[in-house]
Amino acid sequence: MSAAAREKDIALRMTLRLESLSWEQRRKLTGLLFVLPTVLFVTVFFIIPLAMTVFMSFHDWPLIGEQSWIGTTNYTELAKDRQYLKSLDFTFRYTILVTPPIFILGFILASLVRHNIRFIGIFRTIFFLPVVIGLGVSSLLWIWMLDQRVGIFNKILLDLHLIAKPQLFLAKPTTAMNVIILSVVWKTVGFTMILLLAGLQSIPDELYESADVDGAGYFRKLLYITLPLMRRTIALALILSVIGSVLAFDQFYIITRGGPRNSTISIVYWIFNNSFTYWKMGYGAAMSIVLLGILVALTSVQYYVLRERY
């Protein structure tokens, strides 16, 4: 049988087999075929890499040369790696410092744009705009605004006579942290605003009206109506913001470059340095596993909180 004839034969048999399937079975097969590409992608680019991260974390894995099994050495090294511990500490400190301003400003913005008064759509859009800009690009924008010589911040502060001479905002760990927080708040607060706005708008107006009748002031209404009813939305906004902060990289890589004196190296930054600058990929994998543990813990909290309502 020629190759062509054989192919034809196989094709014919397959069609026959397909046609001999019941309608029910064909539906099952079709459904599987529809989800197959997605399942393949997720397997190849997610499940396998996930398993490989675990595997690699027990190896000495340089870019070039032999990989060798070294057991838990990477993990014991981690406990002794002072910069790693410093990065963990820094990332948590950053997360604790950046979360409240994002949340509070987000809440204020959401309250301000809550009601559909004239032009409110324009304001909502403006507050949300920075969210669609990439964090990398916004970091580049901020580093220039913060520059000692060509930056606008120094210019404005000098012209307002608030400072006597141009400041090096990125030279001191505390000011570096503060300006990074400022840039991240600007970039991400619109996201929190929209989440909280959706939560606010789902509270029925009647509740406030009856509170008005009872003579309740703004803060009483906030405390007894708004906050309790928005528990779930608030938890979601906080957790998403925390997860984003734990994964912070772009702003430190671009704005501070980890400085001054390695004081702003986040977890992801340190993983990046070890894996793709020093090419200690096994070691980087071990750090990734720790990061993964932290994130799974955080998302579990998220799912737990969100499940509550149903």
């Binding site: 079709t30 396998i48 949300f128 924008l141 220039w144 993983i271 994130l295």
Partner: protein, 302 residues
């Protein structure tokens, strides 16, 4: 006779009726609200606006110490200068970003539509397990599996290729896309499909001919997210590309900023930033409703 009108229409603000007082109070509060909103809006727009202004300055003015607030003359020199950086100039890197973004949009649309339809309308063994597997991608951000992804791409010789980067981006768009498309398909009444199936329409042509139009809002949302996320992504693009000619726009801009092409040209950097921001702003401003719906639907429900 003099006492009565005094009681009815007393002079001054204290004489206003309760209702009038309340109205004045409301007006005053509204004025304060608009004032606050305007101040905040100016602060929020300031970085973008100032970047735009700086990109339009004469290059020497963009480097002035101390800086000027407004350009003395509006020119596009910084943009033309940017085209001569590196081997390809900004155009090549915008091209890289655009190719990766388009591949990501196309890939995520095809996969999420097919997958979303499969999960919404068919019953097959292992369906729930597979669905959970896809959604579990959301629990583990890609930052923690970048190392093996890099090793794999190197092994398949896909590092330093735009396709390799797009494949990774598509994967990380999938949970959101599948989730959203599945919900979109579930919202379509079943009767429509049943009628078509009885008429002998195949599943694929049914999806293509009828369902796509019905789930268009979901498709638009998936496309916007795929576009904006892949256009903006920085870390993976930084790691997977080592050939400078293949850099996407944000990574290229860090080179401009580091002064690798000579002294740091701030005007050119601003021009690059505006080029990087522009498509996202346009897409968002035109399709805002879909973007916000996706954000709320995706974040609150998954």
């Amino acid at each position: 006779m003099t006492a009565a009108p005094l009681r009815e229409r007393p002079a001054g603000i204290s004489g206003l009726t309760q209702q009038q007082k309340r109205r004045i109070r409301r007006q005053a509060l509204l004025a304060i609200k608009y004032f606050l909103l305007t101040v905040l809006a100016i602060l929020f727009l300031f970085p973008i606006a100032w970047s735009l202004l700086n990109s339009l300055k004469v290059p020497s003015e963009a480097l002035a110490i101390p800086p000027t607030y407004l350009p003395t003359r509006i020119v596009f020199d910084s943009y033309t200068k940017l085209t001569s950086f590196g081997n390809y100039g900004v155009v090549g890197h915008v091209g890289n970003s655009a190719i990766v973004a388009l591949m990501t949009v196309f890939g995520s649309l095809v996969l999420s539509t097919l997958g979303g339809y499969g999960f919404a309308r068919f019953n097959f063994p292992g369906k729930n397990a597979l669905f959970i597997m896809v959604l579990s991608t959301l629990m583990i951000p890609f930052q923690s599996i970048l190392i093996p992804l890099f090793v794999m791409l190197v092994r398949f010789e896909l590092n330093d290729t735009l396709v390799g980067l797009a494949l990774v981006y598509i994967t990380f768009q999938l949970p959101f896309g599948i989730f959203l498309m599945r919900n979109s398909f579930l919202a379509v009444p079943r009767e429509i499909e049943e009628a078509a199936l009885l008429d002998g329409c195949s599943s694929l042509s049914l999806l293509y001919r009828m369902m796509l139009r019905l789930v268009l809002p979901g498709i638009v949302t998936v496309a916007i997210y795929a576009f904006i996320n892949s256009w903006n992504e920085f870390l993976a693009a930084l790691i997977f590309m080592s050939d400078q000619d293949k850099f996407t726009l944000p990574v290229f801009l860090t080179l401009v900023r580091s002064g690798i092409y000579g002294t740091v040209d701030w005007g050119a950097l601003q021009a690059g930033i505006i080029v990087a921001i522009f498509p996202c702003l346009v897409v968002f401003l035109l399709l805002q409703r879909y973007y916000i719906n996706g954000l709320i639907g995706g974040a609150v429900n998954n």
